[in-house]
């Protein structure tokens, strides 16, 4: 049983540190469809192994994500509303996905397109329950420590690597709440990996303040969770990959 806790944080004479606590992180989001398919309960071992062996040279898709943060707020979304192929000759639309957090007020606003609609989830923050582990690794020039949690709705194991030297609670996708900025997120041992490729500490108040107008259906977090739970259950029952139509 845990309780509402207040924690007093004392910084004394940490000059300029407050200024460092804002910036923008560029992440590479890569998704391995083959690994995801191999978790689908309705596929037989034969089918899964065939998928793996046939498509082993074509496993993933990549996109670029941006996280703007300061000590109180964060904003995470696609780098652009449209993705351009590597050779620049194809452009396609990205789903609406804007994750906004206000740590000071304890609120979140999430614009998420899924199941053919755009939803706007406005609710209070619910912090993931993290476990802290001992591994260290270097990501984009920052030494990061490992933490783990899980997503009970999607039954996912979440591994986050947070920077020891950027004491901000922000992070990519739906995750945050660690003693340092999350620079890498790994969902289910590599099904999805979101890795920081660049961390720039600079003033981002303009980007954080900018509000893009996206129409959508306003719902509460509990409704959103229920939508997901129902969809996953239905899709698995219908023997369809639920993650074709929701974010993994």
């Amino acid at each position: 049983m845990k309780k509402l806790l207040f924690f007093l944080l004392i910084f004394a004479g940490i000059q300029a540190r407050a200024q460092e606590l804002r910036g923008v992180v560029t992440y590479e989001y890569s998704q391995d469809w083959i690994k995801i398919a191999s978790r689908l309960p309705y596929l037989s071992l034969d089918q899964k192994e065939r998928i793996k062996s046939t498509y082993k040279n074509y496993t993933g898709s990549k996109s670029i994500m941006k996280l703007y943060f300061n000590a109180d707020q964060s904003l995470y979304s696609y780098e652009s509303d449209y993705t351009r192929s590597e050779d620049g000759r194809w452009s396609w639309r990205n789903s609406d996905y804007v994750i906004r957090r206000d740590f000071k007020q304890g609120t979140r606003t999430e614009i998420i397109e899924m199941l053919g609609k755009t939803f706007i989830v406005e609710d209070s923050l619910a912090e993931p329950k993290w476990k802290i582990l001992n591994q260290l690794k270097d990501i984009a020039g920052h030494v990061c420590m490992k933490a783990e949690t899980d997503d009970p709705i999607k039954s996912q194991k979440i591994t986050a690597w947070f920077a020891q030297d950027i004491p901000v609670s922000a992070g990519p996708e739906m995750y945050y709440g660690l003693p340092g900025l999350i620079l890498e997120l790994d969902i289910n041992d590599g099904d999805v990996v979101v890795t920081a490729t660049q961390v720039e500490l600079k003033d981002v108040s303009k980007e954080l303040a900018a509000v893009k107008k996206i129409k959508g259906k306003k719902i509460k977090a509990a409704e959103y969770d229920k939508l997901l739970t129902d969809h996953i259950k239905t899709a698995i029952k219908a023997q369809e990959n639920p993650y074709w139509t929701i974010r993994y």
Partner: protein, 943 residues
């Protein structure tokens, strides 16, 4: 902003029990380094000892102090992290008082070399778990072929002496394990000296209990320095296989099997089958198991540039060089015996991909055919009734290899080679009765045919593609070179007897005409192709492509025909031919492409020049040759639009297809293998151009699962290749390909699908309409055949439970054909299809599958009404561990109605054909699959 104090609100978890008062405690302390210097800004975390769950966190003040207020009383782990220092972990239980002071806690710097090498430089996760240190082996470069010993020498904190003794952090390593298991005996050196370094993914160093403690279960407190080597996935091997054997009534039998071995880099597979149930090729699953990672390769086409004006061969040219796939279905025509076998090897790394395979198959087929054919002429019609038998035996040896190399991040090379050696024999006998008008009373003539043919051929198709990316993003260059060869030798004997009962030119017994000819044909085709392509980005959203295609092809054909009589063989100079044809094709084009915000538009123009230079004579020694020299130039446009929007997309295209006439159509050769239907080639044929416009719109709502597809297309032909017919007094048809303008086609497709009840019932309805007009000359009179095709269908997916599924489908089809040459022959053909697929799971792991395909063919004009209910039933049971085995009893065509009927109306011809084929039989089969089998209750929706 300078803050002395900043308050951070942390909501760890919101729960109720706020009430338990004095259960609160404040924890404080300070962090210092080994020299007792205070450490400001260190991250301090409070975790629960049970599962390391994060309860609270903060940072130390400038005096190195921290304080957690108002914490729930209980045991905690205090964890301290600071860049460059080993994470400190301290377990404590708060004292009785309100404040627990942990005092000054010392954190130790990570050994500099360890930190620099492992954490910073190598970008490798260094794991320090208690006293276990884990190294990521791939981060330490050792020469290829090195042993683990050499790898260990590279690891910071490890020493290996000359004799191979290992020390970790100064202590001697007593034990080396592999994946946690002892490696062949107790000597730690055995593993480190014998295992290759490249097999290792991780090296872990820790203190383990002694073997004695492990076996007795009594911890003697002693610890041994242990090194554990974790093997890479790639060095974990796997193998699997599958075999099916079945035996049935009417001497039906089948056996098929495959075996695969693989690791991360390599895939090896063998496959074979034999059957007489008309399965001539591989199923898609078998094909994927056989070819593995090389099942599908994109970008293997060396013909660059847009489609417009790109010239491809129609007809039979160049087909069949790949491995035969028939989706695992039984052919509905004739009877066949099939044998096949092959092996495939793939090697895949990021830089190099290599694949090679060999595949042999033999197919022996028999067709007993009843043909009922009506031919319309400007002044009447005639009827042909034919009974024929065709038996063929073909052997194919296929070999292919593909090599792909990423020379560096900017340069890629792909080399592909496909070869086929095949030979075959064919025997054909037929009896044809000809009737004038519709009467079937008295035949006007009778033809009996008895032909034998054999051939052997070699084909090779090879392509090399080089792609280069420039440093400027989006600037790309590609070049390709292809060489193809087709060398075929054939020989045959043709015998026929033709009797004309109503021939008025002769008196007395019916005029008769016998034919007995031997022929030998050798043909050699060589083709050299090359393409270049360059793409330049003009801006972020606009790119410009320029391409050039070249092809040069030469055909050399030598055909000798001999009349065989009692006096021996006499060369027939009117049918013998020697000819050469050289085709030169050049195309240069350019296009501009705009891609932005989901809108992708490109438009371009190409100029294509085509030349054909041929010469032919009855024999290569002939003194005079007839020459053909034709060329044409055309400018062809190309436009494509693709717009990707939320839940919908739109596409539109305009292009010009160029179809090169087939070899058979071009060659100045008279094919009289059916003396009542003589095919002449036409060396003057030009390629066919089709201007095609199409547009499509699709929407899909992933929430409601409602989808809608639509497409319209229109094509207009220039120089369409059509087969003009002349029918002489004796009802001998001569068909000759000619170019003609004006043929067109309009088609459309609409599809709509939605769930009636989510996960339980889905309905798909679709309709397609097609209106075509095809001109041909019949006895020098222009005939326009207008074919209107109306199709409507619906599929229902009923999946009410895991134990019962049903997939009914209905299709109604009307073909309305109008002949301008003879309006009285206009007719409508109706095809109806009612089908269903039923799956039931019964108790005891027994499954039932029933499949009905009920086809109705109706043609009122001819009083034709065929009803063909084909019902297949099977019962199967899965057994053994993981359902590795299956036994199945199947009944094919329960009503014994499979008659291989097809009805066609085309050009000036209406025909109904019936081929004897596999009808009712029963089969008992057994399958064993190492990877396990699955009941087929559901249709596969893809994954």
């Amino acid at each position: 902003m300078k803050n002395l104090f900043s308050l951070l609100l942390l909501v760890v978890c919101c729960c109720t029990a706020f009430a338990q008062q004095s259960a609160r405690v404040t924890v404080r302390g300070s962090i210092v380094d080994t020299a007792s210097v205070v450490m400001p800004g260190a991250t301090v975390m409070l975790l629960t000892p049970k599962d390391s769950a994060l309860v609270s966190f903060g940072r130390t003040s400038d005096k190195g102090t921290f304080e957690f207020r108002n914490m729930k009383r209980g045991p905690y782990i205090l964890k301290v992290s600071y860049v460059g220092f080993l994470p400190l972990q301290k377990e404590f239980t708060p004292d009785a008082g309100d404040i627990t002071d942990l005092g000054a806690l010392k954190i130790k710097p990570i050994q500099k070399e360890l930190f620099e090498v492992v954490v910073k430089t190598a970008r490798a996760p260094l794991s320090i778990r208690g006293d276990t240190i884990e190294y990521n082996a791939s981060s330490f470069k050792v020469p290829p072929g090195s042993s683990v010993e050499e790898l260990l020498r590279k690891l910071p904190g490890m020493q290996v002496d000359q004799d191979g003794n290992i020390k970790a952090q100064g202590q001697t390593v007593q034990k080396v394990t592999v994946d946690g298991k002892q490696f062949f005996g107790a000597d730690p050196k055995l593993a480190t000296k014998n295992l290759p370094a490249e097999a290792i993914s991780k090296v872990q160093v820790f203190n383990d209990k002694t073997e004695a403690a492990k076996t007795t279960g009594i911890d003697d407190g002693k610890r041994e320095k242990t090194v554990n080597l974790e093997l890479k996935e790639s060095h974990k091997k796997g193998g699997f296989g599958k075999v099916t054997a079945g035996i049935g009534t009417k001497e039906r039998a089948q056996v098929r099997g495959n075996y695969n071995r693989f690791n991360q880099k390599e895939q090896f597979s063998v496959l074979g089958f034999a059957n007489n149930i008309n399965q001539t090729g591989l199923s898609f699953d078998d094909y994927q198991d056989f070819r593995g990672s090389q099942s599908f390769n994109w970008q293997d086409n060396g013909d660059f540039g847009f489609n417009s004006g790109f010239y491809y061969f129609g007809g039979d040219d160049g087909n069949g060089i790949g491995i035969p796939i028939n989706g695992g279905n039984s052919s509905n025509r004739g009877f066949s015996r099939n044998y096949a076998g092959g092996g495939n090897y793939n090697y895949d790394t990021k830089k190099t991909k290599l694949s090679s395979n060999y595949f042999f198959n033999q197919t022996g087929q028999t067709f007993d055919t009843d043909l009922n054919k009506e031919t319309f002429l400007p002044n009447g019609s005639f009827l042909t009734l034919e009974k024929s038998n065709r038996s063929t035996l073909n052997n194919n040896h296929r070999a292919s290899a593909r090599f792909e190399k990423n020379l560096d991040s900017l340069n890629t090379l792909v080399i592909i080679g496909n070869a086929r050696f095949n030979n075959g024999t064919e025997r054909f006998s037929s009896t044809q009765n000809f009737f004038r008008g519709m009467s079937r009373e008295t035949p006007s003539s009778l033809t009996e045919i008895n032909n034998r043919n054999s051939f052997s051929a070699f084909q090779l198709a090879s392509t090399a593609i080089y792609r280069h990316k420039f440093r400027k993003k989006g600037r790309n260059f590609a070049a390709s070179l292809s060489y193809n060869i087709n060398d075929t030798d054939g020989s045959g004997n043709q015998q026929s007897n033709n009797r004309y009962f109503d021939d008025t030119t002769s008196t007395g017994p019916p005029a008769s005409f016998r034919l007995n000819q031997d022929n030998m044909t050798s043909s050699l085709r060589n083709e050299l192709k090359s393409s270049l392509d360059f793409i330049e980005p003009l801006s972020k959203t606009v790119s410009w492509e320029t391409f050039y295609n070249f092809s040069f092809r030469t055909d050399r054909v030598d055909r000798d025909v001999f009349d065989v009589s009692d006096q021996g063989r006499i060369r027939n100079n009117s049918l013998s031919r020697y000819y050469t044809n050289d085709f030169t094709y050049n195309r240069i084009g350019t296009s501009v492409r705009y891609s932005n915000k989901g809108l992708n538009v490109s438009g371009g123009l190409a100029g294509m020049w085509f030349n054909q230079a041929g010469r032919f004579a009855p024999d290569q020694t002939a003194s005079t040759f007839t020459s053909v020299n034709r060329s044409f130039f055309s400018v062809v446009p190309n436009v494509t639009v693709y717009y990707n929007m939320k839940n919908r997309n739109l596409n539109a295209n305009y292009n010009v297809d160029v179809r090169q006439p087939s070899t058979a159509d071009l060659q100045p050769v008279i094919d009289n293998s059916n003396p009542r239907f003589i095919r002449e080639g036409n060396p003057n044929l030009l390629p066919q151009l089709t201007h095609r416009v199409s547009a499509g719109f699709n929407t899909y709502n992933p929430g409601s699962f409602v989808h809608f597809y639509s497409n319209v297309n229109f094509g207009y032909n220039i120089n369409q290749i059509v087969y003009n017919q002349t029918v002489d007094e004796r009802l001998v048809t001569t068909s000759r390909p000619e170019n003609i303008d004006g043929g067109k086609n309009f088609g459309s497709y609409l599809g709509f699908g939605f769930p009636l009840k989510k996960t339980k019932a889905t309905l798909n309805v679709y309709s397609s309409l097609n209106f075509g007009r095809n001109p041909t000359y019949i006895n020098n009179v222009l005939n326009q055949t207008n074919t209107n095709y109306y199709n409507f269908g619906l599929n229902l997916d009923l999946t009410p439970s895991e134990k019962f599924t049903l997939y009914p489908n209905f299709n109604w089809n009307l073909t309305d054909t109008r002949y301008s040459v003879n309006k009285t022959q206009n007719l409508q053909i109706y095809n109806f299809r009612y089908g269903g697929d039923l799956n039931v799971q019964m108790p005891g792991g027994i499954y039932f599958n029933g499949r009905l395909n009920y086809q109705i063919y109706k043609n009122e004009k001819f009083g034709f009404n065929q009803q063909l209910p084909i019902l297949n039933l099977s019962v199967y049971k899965l057994f053994l561990k993981d359902n590795k085995a299956e036994v199945r009893l199947s009944a094919y065509d329960v009503f014994n109605k499979n008659q291989g009927i097809t009805q066609q109306a085309y050009q000036n011809i209406l025909q109904t054909e019936q081929v004897q084929t596999l009808a009712r039989y029963f089969m008992l089969s057994f399958t064993y699959n190492v990877r396990g089998l699955k009941s087929q209750m559901r249709r596969n929706n893809g994954w």
